[in-house]
Amino acid sequence: MPIFKSLEELHHMLVNKEISCVELTRSYLDYIDSADSRVKAFLTVTADSALMKAAKVDKKIAGGESLGSLEGLPMAMKDNMCTEGIPTTCGSRILENFNPPYDATVTERLKASGAVLLGKLNMDEFAMGSSTENSGYHPTANPWDLESVPGGSSGGSAACVAAREVPFALGSDTGGSIRQPAAFCGVVGLKPTYGAVSRYGLVAFASSLDQIGPLTTNVRDNALVLNAIAGHDPKDSTSVPFVKPDYTRFLENDVKGLKIGIPDEYFASGLNSDVAEVIQKAIRTFESLGAEIERCSLPHTEFAMPAYYIIAPAECSSNLARYDGVRYGYRAEADDMIEMFKKTREKGFGQEVKRRIMLGTYALSSGYYDAYYLKAQKVRTLIKQDFDRAFAKYDVLLSPTAPTTAYKIGEKSDPLAMYMGDVYTIPVNLAGLPAISVPAGFVDGMPVGMQLISKHFEEGMLYKAAYAFEQNTEYYHQVPALLKEVR
């Protein structure tokens, strides 16, 4: 079955003509047909355009042309990245009929790399949420337990990769939205350095925090996808000009002398004891491989959550002001403009989005700006300085990705309780750092993710550490029981 192959293996199968690209694409589409009725990861399946693209790749192969590393390989994208002519809903009813007139830069780059888009993936509405229960369409299920959440907001991306519906998907991460679902679904998820991947054409949630990144079943695939999407983009003024390395060259099974810091604050109260045990075992694995492990402190960690829940809603209230029913999206009928705006936004947005717009509007309103928004931005500086001090000493910081494993759909109704699931991922976004979640073990049959954090633009260091860990453990080989049932 091709669905169990890595990107490199699939590439070799195409090059060696063991399978045609149309056959490969069709086998994935057939599998999506059978598996996705249970996982519900997809919002749109683009079968026709995928098969047309695959036929073009087959022509290239027949003509003896060489293939790029992602050429002809199936993939899917979170539905907040613009795809010309293909619906982009952002998981919201307000964008239900929106067909972007342009491609996001990541879409363009993946198209240029020859990857074959199989569809767009479910997500929490406007990427606000930690479970993919807040989608305006339907919740997505965790392939390891269909009654549990896949995490969020890139729950569709993580679930479809875990269920092997595609070998790779793109997600976006504002406060942990790639890493937390990757942890819950037992896959590899990278949040790159802020500015390393263009946000042009990504539907904005909190612009100073959002970052696009890859979700894959293993570390090498992740590096291959980052190779295709990273790099400066003049269309995004926050994109950083930097020399992009070939990320696969960091994949060596050697962490001797690597200095790993273990922040005490990430092992404090709130961390499930079984999850803690899995992470402690992972630390011992690194130790046995010759890494130098030391405890350290990031003293302002407890302030990251409250700072984030002021900054992110403030930016969201500003970004989402554009949904007024005038130029695109849903419009409610009304006799005057203000009524039209209010009714459009009432009907178009879900509860979580409205809550954050309200919170952000309040935090930015006259008389409260200094007390909330400015204060939070100052605390952000302190959090960033904590990391700067740590990285003067360590190559990598290691922590759990999330305090628990995936919980049951509907289990968490209190927004604050839900927000706590991102407690270990949020500080990274505030500081703009790169971080990766890799499968580190299981608790009661549910995956546990380990988070590795590094300095700005040191994704290579993360891949090096993650790859060594992966090659010396067996977790990434395990697949959900669902795969045996639907095969």
Binding site: P101, Y328, T361, Q377
Partner: protein
């Protein structure tokens, strides 16, 4: 700082959101809970700290002032809920 029901209604107007009675009730409670949690930021003395708007330092990004092709009017209007003669059509304003 505790948010009153009236303040929540005022914020909803600023945000151009029509809320039901139940939503006003719910958000008054939830916003107070979240803002109460955010109060812990006041424990930190940040008098001497500069704010961080972007974690990675950015400078103004300027390109040459050259005319470049823009999107066609048709494409811009293709998602319009209502349009007429190349304009977005909205309810009467005056």
């Amino acid at each position: 700082m505790k948010l009153s029901r009236e303040e929540v209604e005022h914020v909803a107007l600023l945000a151009r959101l029509q809320l039901s009675e139940e939503e006003v009730e719910l958000y008054t409670e939830q916003l107070n809970s979240i803002l109460g949690y955010a109060e812990m930021l006041q424990k930190l003395n940040t008098d001497q700290v500069s704010p961080t708007a972007h974690a990675v330092q950015l400078f103004n990004v300027l390109r040459e002032d050259e005319v470049k092709p823009s999107m066609s009017q048709d494409k811009i209007l293709m998602n319009a809920p209502d349009e007429e003669d190349g304009f977005f059509r909205v309810p009467r304003i005056v």
